[in-house]
Symmetry: C2
DNA sequence: TTGAAAGCGCTAACAG
DNA sequence: CTGTTAGCGCTTTCAA
């Protein structure tokens, strides 16, 4: 009882329906140029025989694959949300997605290499560590859209969240709650870290809080947030904006273990609005990226490049929006500094 | 400065190197039958021209794709860990993976359909809601390996964790710590739920704790664990085994909010050893699935089916192992029931 | 060791 | 509206 007798081909359907392969091809593609009756019959035969078009042969012949390759990292929860959006956007534009994952034991280069062999027409990269020169060498072969990272290259499109604006929103929110001594835990060398830090600086200055600017070294992990919290404990501010949600979680944990109440003694804002931040017991106020917009614009750029109709700017920056949850509250009156 | 002049083909390399396409094909595949010098030269030319083989054409001609299709759900963190293992296992076996994601707006049927068009030689399904009959209709076309779910079908291989054993390990651990009043929060209709519940029953009985058996309705989400905790609060046991980590997290939160200390008043064991359970402030004792073993055995089954050398059992059950962290501790003396 | 030729399943001209 | 013909880029006999 082995499975997969043999593939049903166009020829099989054609002979069974008593027409030519070309005609079946037309019917299967829904292309114009076939009689209604014939169309009906061919479709019926195809269904009965269980015909499945062979995308490889189809694409080989037509020269185009209508495929957009995506490199994502299995470890990054945010990437999965983004995939959801990309499937939708690509489908609407008449393209298919082909996925290539980066794992702890499978690098970006391998992931991109597979995509190139698959003959996709554009590549969308989620984050990643590739240097600009490397991206450029790929971009010499096909359009490259880099998401959630920057790239100072004229031949690469970038689509990402407005990190500086996100920090502004976080600081504005805290200031509106009466906070002044607002610290920032940064993300180290990661993409977006510099922008989020700069945004924090700008916002503080804009509010005339230059004197309260305080940046603590951090990173993307829970442990980084925890370490930053330890450092903050000696002289706690009344609020903190953190590079991302995971780091914020580590920070929260250490703060609470040390008897500080959140948001009573201290308010905390994360970044990314990940599943983690939505958990009831974390309930983190955070800056959410607009996933659907990011995905839609990335596909839009890819398609424009593929079809040679690209006109707009190579960099697309999407504004984020603050999601207020339970880790931010009014500054305690006593917390106001002397000034 | 448009990119992608034109694809470099075998013919380009051949003419540039002054040999036939057939010979270049041999060299590119590393197949035997080419002189060392020629091989060297062809390779050099290919590199210089930036030749990339076209997997479509290659597979079309050779009739085989050496592709294993994988259907995973972007929302399930565990699936991502499994992908990592599968890439490794498939690579070792000389196969490539082709991914198709299930998203909130892209169903299993679509995901499988794409894979069929890609002409992969076997399909690995992670969980999913497909009924046995549907799986069977796919299995009629190509080998199907179902992971993390059961399927009472002779034509479908299943590879999953030993859920009953996992529950045994959890209960054994708690009993060893002196617990007797151990409750179980189940997973509703999800895959593995019935087995984990049955395993709990068995283990309790084996320890002569029939009288303390207590199953509370639950589910896969944080909210389900939280609701179960509310129900448990009226008459708290001294320990709880929960269907999965996320649900356990919800349960923990409600317990603590109600003044119970974990593990002081109550011990909690989750299931899956997800990233969540490893967070410092959650630090959940849990049952971990052996991801590498699961992945390796799934690929092994797929390859055996593809190559027609399948012999072993159609169901492969992998033993899990308990990961002891901070949510389990000795039963308080006073907590012992009168008996 | 190397080359010529056929053809995988399909689409795209072009005829009829 | 339908059929014929010619390949897409590659692998695979089969000869040389």
């Amino acid at each position: 009882m082995r499975s997969g007798e043999r593939r049903i081909t166009l020829a099989d359907v054609a002979s069974e329906a008593g027409v030519s392969v070309a005609l079946v091809s037309i019917v299967m593609r829904g292309a114009p140029g076939a009689g209604a009756a014939t169309r009906e019959r061919v479709l019926e035969v195809a269904r009965r025989l269980g015909y499945q078009p062979d995308s490889r042969a189809r694409l080989l012949r037509s020269g185009r694959s209508r495929l957009i390759g995506v490199v994502f990292d299995v470890r990054h929860p945010f990437h999965h949300d983004l995939l959801t959006g990309l499937y939708d956007a690509a489908g609407k534009a008449g393209y298919q997605l082909t996925l290539s994952a980066v794992t702890p034991r499978r690098g970006e280069r391998t992931a991109v290499g597979d995509l190139l062999q698959d003959r996709c027409e554009a590549i969308v990269l989620f984050g990643g560590q590739m240097r600009g020169s490397e991206l450029a060498s790929i971009a010499a072969r096909l359009p490259v859209i880099a998401m959630m990272r920057s790239a100072r290259r004229r031949d690469i499109d970038v689509v990402h969240n407005d990190d500086a604006l996100g920090s502004h929103q976080a600081v504005d929110h805290l200031v509106a709650l009466g906070h002044q001594r607002i610290a920032h835990v940064d993300g180290g060398a990661l993409h977006g870290s510099a922008e989020r830090r700069a945004g924090y600086h700008e916002a503080m200055r804009r509010h005339g809080l230059d004197g309260h600017i305080r940046v603590v070294a951090g990173g993307p992990g829970e442990e980084h947030g925890a370490a930053a919290a330890e450092r903050l404990l000696a002289d706690p501010p009344t609020a903190v904006t953190v590079f991302n949600d995971l780091s914020a979680t580590g920070l929260l944990d250490v703060l609470r273990r040390n008897g500080l109440s959140v948001p009573g003694d201290l308010s905390v804002v994360g970044y990314d609005d990940t599943t983690l931040s939505r958990l009831a017991h974390i309930d983190l106020t955070t800056v959410g990226q607009d996933i659907d917009a990011l995905a839609a614009r990335a596909v839009e750029r890819a398609v424009e490049r593929i079809e040679g109709t690209a006109t707009g700017p190579r960099a697309v920056i999407i504004p984020p929006r603050l999601v207020v949850r339970g880790t931010t509250g009014p500054a305690a009156a006593g917390a106001l500094p002397p000034r």
